[in-house]
Symmetry: C3
Subunit: 317 residues, 3 copies
């Protein structure tokens, strides 16, 4: 595992949510609050003036790419943007991943890496001599900044990450964001998590055991059991996980977030989240509900958290 | 139709030439004159410092992309550049166009949208909560900044958009730029338009009726009828419009702009325009004629008009 | 051939190493020393503030692209980045290369061109009316900035480009970098060059004659004949040059740079270079040797040389 942050972000590779202690999150989120003000301020920031960050994306992920690109430019930094280098000459000629990383680090102050293969972020971190690696997701591995933006969004609303009641709905078995959030919430005391999913997509028994050590987990299978709660976190059922398409079609929108459901079960302060993209599991009529954060704060917070993280890692905050 | 500009560009979506009144064009072109000076000045502009504009291109159109990208950077702004998002994960996973627009608006101050489907710019404008949409062309729909740069180029030369005699040659039936210019010229008094085309590519009778209400239209079918005129606007016959290739080959360069034709019929002040690309209908020997603006003012003016438009829409001019 | 530089870089197209005299190299390398300091300095440079340079890449070459992009941004300039324009509408519609160049020059102060076809850089230079063209490689033609960074790396170490002993290993027949370096070294006095290659990849007799006029050339076929020397320059055997794959497999790593070889034959000050990518002909255990410059100075110097070249061509240094 990459070295822990322990209060000092400067020069650290950011590979996993497991690097963060509660006090690291406190530092990060406090800086994120400031970043939000900078981004909303008309006056341009010079915090990253003179810094160049390479966005090295082995798979095009337009929203993560756009969020990182904007985050850097919001702070006055510049990017070198390389998409699909594996289609380019050097990699195609047989260059190792390690050499590619070491060539690109020669041009910049940090590399933001997106890669389809689990473990790539760690491998890049091992290869780089000079500059920090910030993971933008490595396949079925981790996507730490997604987890951080979700935690920040909850923290922004409630000013705490303990004593919370949350509902997760959809793909609890495979969903990467759900697992990351469960890990993040496990760092804090006294959180209760309700899990609502088709029975094919329940949390694995191994994960149930693991997370039960720290969280109070309540598995439910019916909308009538939905708690009022602080956070409702909806997720997409991932088509690519099903070999049998008719099975997918049966469960894909088994639980749909509708204005009626919100009206019936949600509290006045319950926030509605979704990692996006959604493909039918949230009725667009919910979008205008002020508690729906998925197309507002949650998306914007991704940029703010990335601003804070890059600024801290480059030692500029 | 999107709301009219009516002298106030700030925050407006720019979807159609029909939004512009003659006095809007006057404001825009007066700012465009200033932008030209800024671009030619060695001193960097700070007008868009701190602004981020997303270039969201669902089809790669290198010159429109390059012109917008340069326009923004000429004013000290930054871009987030997303090409072919439909090949990327979220859109491929089934996300709606509306959700995509609303995710990207979270990162920026405006979205420049290019899309192959007619109506997309309007749809984006309806979806966006917070930031203005500027169309960079939506399929067989409109490409408003192309029309504006053509009008500006004529205005730059003659200081007026009325009392003009113009010749349009080539594809008068389908050519988008021709139709846009006819609409633009219809806003002003006393313009005469000659149309020279193969008979397969004449203006439709419906359009003839419509435009005749405001313009004096003279259809000709022979080079000997070409007027001296103020503007000669040549266009490419579009191969993709013909199912029968031998028909295309017969008409594609039926009317070719040559130095001989210019010498015989053009006036001393007649300007020679073409929206580009050209594929044989202008002899390269014409390029060095000082009246040939297609690879000079007309191309550069695209950047200047886009600078002015973005600056006005963001409230910075 | 494009006009010589003769001490005045401003506005010149950079197409070939043959444009450079020894005193041009002196000017360039002296500026490169300064660029290195600028890049390593925390304070952002404003040298190219207000300048826009188009990166027009007809083939994606991620490292050359990244190096140029970073070089421009290190100096405070901006880029317009166009990758694979031949897949885009205008070129696909049949536009000539010359027209494409002339459209893009309308948006910027210089064009950095990468193209798969030999002669393209010269053709672009002939087409451009207003802005200088800087070649980033044209197929089997030249890649002048690669040659310049290699010469600079040698000069940085030894403060001279004469009285040197060098070893080139690998593909001496086809290797573009080897040929460029031989041409560069021929500008200076009293250089000795050892060539070690499989017999299928020896220098052609024509080139042997040509380079022998200025350089002392010693062809060897055995590692035991390797000189201590000032520079060891290793190259990849290019698979794409072989129609017979078993022949390629036989020779591809016939000569491999290993710690053992370095220990046995290299001098204390011998520098180890490679143009990259490598695919087996350098043992990764050599990477940590301080004399190994291929993933350190040599890569970084590419960015510094490009900074100096662009700054000089734009008249800003």
């Amino acid at each position: 595992m990459p070295s822990l942050i322990n209060g000092n972000f400067k020069g650290k590779d950011i590979i996993s949510l497991d690097q963060f202690t509660p006090s690291d999150l406190k530092i990060l989120f406090s800086q994120t609050d400031k970043m939000k003000k900078i981004a909303m301020n008309a006056k341009p920031s010079k915090i990253l003036n003179g810094n160049i960050i390479t966005l090295l994306f082995y798979e095009p992920s337009s929203r993560t790419f756009g969020s990182f690109s904007a985050a850097i430019k919001q702070l006055g930094g510049q990017t070198v943007e390389i998409i699909n280098p594996q289609q380019f000459s050097s990699v195609a000629k047989g260059e190792t991943f390690e050499d590619t990383i070491r060539v690109f680090e020669a041009y910049c102050d940090a590399i933001v890496l997106r890669h389809p293969q689990e473990g790539s972020a760690k491998a890049a971190s091992d290869a780089a001599f000079f500059v920090p690696i910030i993971s933008a997701g490595d396949g079925i591995g981790e996507h730490p900044t997604q987890a951080l933006l979700d935690l920040y969004t909850i923290h922004e609303k409630f000013k705490r990450l303990n004593n919370l009641t949350l509902l997760f709905t959809g793909d609890i078995l495979y969903g990467r964001t759900v697992h990351s959030l469960l890990r993040g919430l496990s760092l804090f005391e006294n959180n209760t998590v309700y899990l609502l999913s088709p029975k094919e997509l329940k949390l694995s028994r191994g994960d149930y055991e693991k997370f039960s050590k720290k969280l109070k987990i309540v598995e439910i299978d019916n909308e009538s059991q939905i708690p009022k709660g602080d956070v409702w976190y909806w997720t997409r059922v991932q088509k690519e996980r099903f070999s049998n398409l008719s099975k997918y079609n049966k469960v894909k929108t088994k639980f749909t977030l509708t204005p009626e459901l919100v009206k019936k079960y949600a509290g006045k302060n319950t926030i509605l989240m979704h990692p996006l993209p959604r493909v039918g599991e949230i009725d667009p009529r919910v979008d205008s509900d002020p508690r729906a954060l998925y197309l507002r704060n949650q998306t914007r917070n991704g940029m703010y958290v990335r601003m804070a993280l890059i600024g801290l890692v480059l030692g500029k905050l």
